[in-house]
Symmetry: C2
Subunit: 207 residues, 2 copies
């Protein structure tokens, strides 16, 4: 049994927390509003605990499940409390119409987080191409990971497998930019009639 920490108390925090508990992990939820964290912990039930906002998370893997606009600020606020952790950025920095990205063209939320985090924090972009309901469905769906640390991606891959999905390594953290763009492609596909039950995945030509 391993332990995962989630910063945030919204839909994605709830979906990942529920899957982790189902997989046998313990789950720690932290939110700026402790009452919201406590509420989500009650919803999740056994094995979930409330963590202290801004304090070192209990888990080695810390899922940052906050809005993209506040992600960098939250990491800065946690500061050294995230030293040595694997921080998983799941955000989609969509423009208001979800047709472009609201980050500079030569970076990504994940890279901005890495720049704001302690030097020995490993940032991995993942889960952003799974709509909440698709993630919650339990899969298996492909979960793309971009990060500079092979060890961090291996640890996260084990977690992704634990919760019933399929880890797919797309390369270093620079690829996070294109993963954020891949979500725009998914929005386009969904709007073209396929609906929001879709996700991008790897086709190995099995049939």
């Amino acid at each position: 049994m391993t332990s995962i920490s989630i910063i945030g108390s919204g839909n994605m925090a709830g979906a990942i927390g529920a899957l982790a508990l189902k997989g046998g992990d313990t789950v720690e939820i932290s939110a700026r509003d402790a009452a919201k964290a406590a509420s989500l912990v009650r919803t999740l039930g056994g094995g979930a605990t409330v963590g202290t906002w801004g304090a070192a998370p209990a888990g080695d893997i810390v899922v940052l499940a906050v809005l993209f606009e506040s992600a960098v600020d939250v990491v800065r606020e946690y500061g050294e409390a995230l030293a040595g952790k694997i921080v998983v950025d799941i955000t989609n920095p969509f423009s208001p119409t979800a047709t472009g990205l609201a980050v500079p063209h030569d970076t990504s939320v994940a890279q901005l987080i890495a720049a704001a985090a302690p030097a020995d924090t490993q940032v991995v972009k993942a889960f952003n191409t799974l709509f909440r309901d698709v993630l919650a469905s339990g899969g298996p769906r492909d979960v793309f990971m971009a990060g500079d640390s092979a060890d961090a991606k291996a640890s996260l891959a084990a977690f992704i497998t634990l919760i019933g999905h399929r880890p797919r390594d797309v390369g270093d953290l620079g690829m996070a930019h294109w993963l954020e763009g891949a979500s725009l492609l998914e929005m386009g596909l969904a709007r073209s009639g396929l609906g929001f039950g879709l996700s991008l995945g790897v086709d190995l030509g099995g049939k």
Copy 2:
């Protein structure tokens, strides 16, 4: 039986031409070096013809199967000969290491082609996420399309279906930027151990 024109005589021209002939289309091949066009036509066999470089292509759908570095120049050279055509941009503007794109950040080869083409030419980005051997395998694999004309995408979708693949509309031509980036993700996935038989596709959660 419809007719398709291919500008180019390389691997992708050969792969698309062979699939089109197999599907029952007629195929016209044009190349700056007419001898290379004639050679490919001989290889392809019955139903393939050599077109005149720079002259109006016979087909309504014109696949631009040239290197990305020369794509815009070729379209400019053809000029009004491409008026009213559906021009399909299949290029991948990879940087030398295939870790970034060799086009400005706010555009794509497809958009640069559209800017250089006659006003009533419809440009669609497609096929760029299929490695040559994957394309040639006959599928079905997902072929993503980005373009501003629903009619042009409908015509191209019929062609994609004819050659045994699966059309997937990702939205307007602005999405071509992210389709070009999607090929970088495929390179990353391939290098991470999955090999070059892969393609990105839509997972609708069927199982």
